[in-house]
Point group: C2
Chain length 253, copies 2
C-alpha cells in the first residue's frame, strides 16, 4: 500500500498521474487541509507536521511513502528517512532534478512556494550537476488553482508577472516545483514557449515510484483530509474526473 501525502489537495495531481499509469494501484492519500498551506511556514513546523502526517499513513498500512509536496520534500525528507529507515520514501525534488539533467539542460527555471524556493533545495542539486538555476517564488499560483482560474485573463497576467524574469533568463527547462502547478501547465507552457521543457515534479515521482516499488493492485484506494469541505470535494472531482469521498483524518487526537 502506497501512502501519498500533501499539505492539501495539490498532491492529487500525483494521484492523477498514478491512476493514469496504473489504475488499480492501492494507495491511501492524506491531505492536511486543516493546516495548509505549508509553503509559508517555518522549517521546524513543516518537519513536525510532516512527521505527524506520515505517522497517520503508516498507521493506515502504508509500506512506502510519496511526499507529494515540494515544501515537505525540501525541508522534511531527512527527518522522515531517519524516522522510517526501512520504508521506501519518494520525494518530488530529486526525480525532477534527474530529468533536468537527462535532458541536458544548461539553465533551468524553478518555480514553487516561498518556502520551497527559500530552501534552495533545487538549486543545490541542480548546481551540483553543473546546471545554472533561476528560481522564483509564485505564492499566488496555489490560490489561483484552488479558485479554479486555470486559464483566465487574470491568471495569464500573473503568470507573466512571475515568469518574465525566468523567460528572459533563456532557460532550457522549467521545473514546476509545486504539485498544484501542473494544472497551470497549459498557460505556463504557452508563456514560456515551445523550446522550454516543463518538468512536472509530481509526474516524474510517479515514474520513479513505478520503477522502485512492487505495486499492490487490489485497487484499495482511500482518501483522507484533516479538514473536509465541499470545496475540496469539488476540486478533487474536477482534477481526477471522478467523484472522490474524503474521510476525516484526526491527527491531533
Amino acid at each position: 500500500m502506497i501512502g501519498i501525502f500533501d499539505s492539501g489537495v495539490g498532491g492529487l495531481t500525483v494521484v492523477r498521474e498514478l491512476l493514469r499509469r496504473s489504475p488499480d494501484a492501492s494507495f491511501v492519500y492524506l491531505g492536511d487541509t486543516a493546516r495548509l498551506p505549508y509553503g509559508n511556514k517555518s522549517p521546524e513546523t513543516i518537519v513536525r507536521f510532516t512527521l505527524e502526517d506520515a505517522a497517520f499513513l503508516v498507521a493506515h498500512g502504508a509500506t512506502s511513502l510519496v511526499v507529494a509536496c515540494n515544501t515537505m520534500s525540501a525541508h522534511a525528507v531527512d527527518a522522515l528517512r531517519k524516522t522510517y529507515p526501512a520504508l521506501p520514501i519518494f520525494d518530488v525534488i530529486t526525480p525532477a532534478v534527474r530529468v533536468a539533467s537527462h535532458l541536458g539542460a544548461k539553465r533551468v527555471g524553478v518555480i514553487g512556494t516561498r518556502a520551497t524556493v527559500a530552501s534552495g533545495a533545487y538549486d543545490r542539486l541542480l548546481e551540483a550537476q553543473g546546471i545554472e538555476v533561476i528560481a522564483r517564488a509564485c505564492p499566488l499560483f496555489v490560490p489561483l488553482v484552488e479558485e479554479g482560474w486555470l486559464d483566465d485573463g487574470e491568471t495569464k497576467r500573473i503568470v507573466k508577472h512571475y515568469l518574465s524574469p525566468v523567460r528572459q533568463g533563456d532557460v532550457d527547462a522549467l521545473i514546476l516545483g509545486c504539485t498544484h502547478y501542473p494544472l497551470l501547465a497549459p498557460v505556463i507552457g504557452r508563456f514560456m514557449g515551445r523550446s522550454v521543457s516543463l518538468i512536472d515534479s509530481g509526474a516524474v515521482v510517479v515514474e520513479e515510484l513505478l520503477k522502485g516499488v512492487q505495486l499492490d493492485s487490489a485497487r484499495q484506494q482511500s482518501y483522507f483530509l484533516t479538514d473536509r469541505s465541499a470545496r475540496s470535494e469539488e476540486i478533487a472531482q474536477q482534477w481526477l474526473k471522478r467523484p472522490v469521498n474524503f474521510d476525516k483524518a484526526d491527527l491531533l487526537g
Copy 2:
C-alpha cells in the same frame, strides 16, 4: 488587557486601528499562522481552533476578547461566549451591520472569504434590518494582500472580476468583511466609486471596543504567532509602520 486574535496577520489591521486611536492601550495579539487560513475550513474545525486560540489569550491575561477575524466571528462567537460567559467578547460582524444600518443603506454589498460568505452571518443580520444584501466571496484577496500587491494591475483586474456584480447591484455601502481587506480599500474604493461607503469591519470593532471596555494604558503590547516566519515580520512592519517582534505561541502542547 485586551486579547486580539485572528487566523494570521490580518487582525493586525485591527491593531493598527487601535494604535491609531489609543497608542498606549495594553493588548496581547495572537495570529494562528501555523493553521491559517481558516476561511476555507469547516465550521467544526473553525470552532475548535477559535477556542484553542482564546484559551491561549486568557492564559496570557486577556480580560476581553476581540475576534479580529470574520470567519471566526461568523462561526465561533456563540461557542466563545458560552465558554467565557464573564468576558466582554467583540466580534467584527455586528458592529459593521450596525454602521450599515446607521448610514441608512438600502442595499449593501458584503465581501469576505468563502467561509464567511457561506455562513450567511452578515445576510441574516442585515436582512433583519430590512437591508438587501449582495454577497461575494473573494478568495484571492488575502493572498494578494499577503503578496503585497496592494495596487498592482493584476489586483485591479481581480477586484473588477469579483466586484463587478456588486457594483452592478447598485449598493449604497460595501462591508469589507475580512480583516485583510482594508489594505485593498484604495483600489476597491476607486472601483466602486465615491457614492459607495466602504465599511471596514476591523475599524468599527475598535470603535465598539473603546466604548465598551475600560482600557489599561500601561502600553504592555505583545504579539504571538503559532508559526513565525520572516515574511510575517515583513508584513507586520509594512502594515503597522514599526518593527514588530513576534513570540512563538505553542497551542498544541
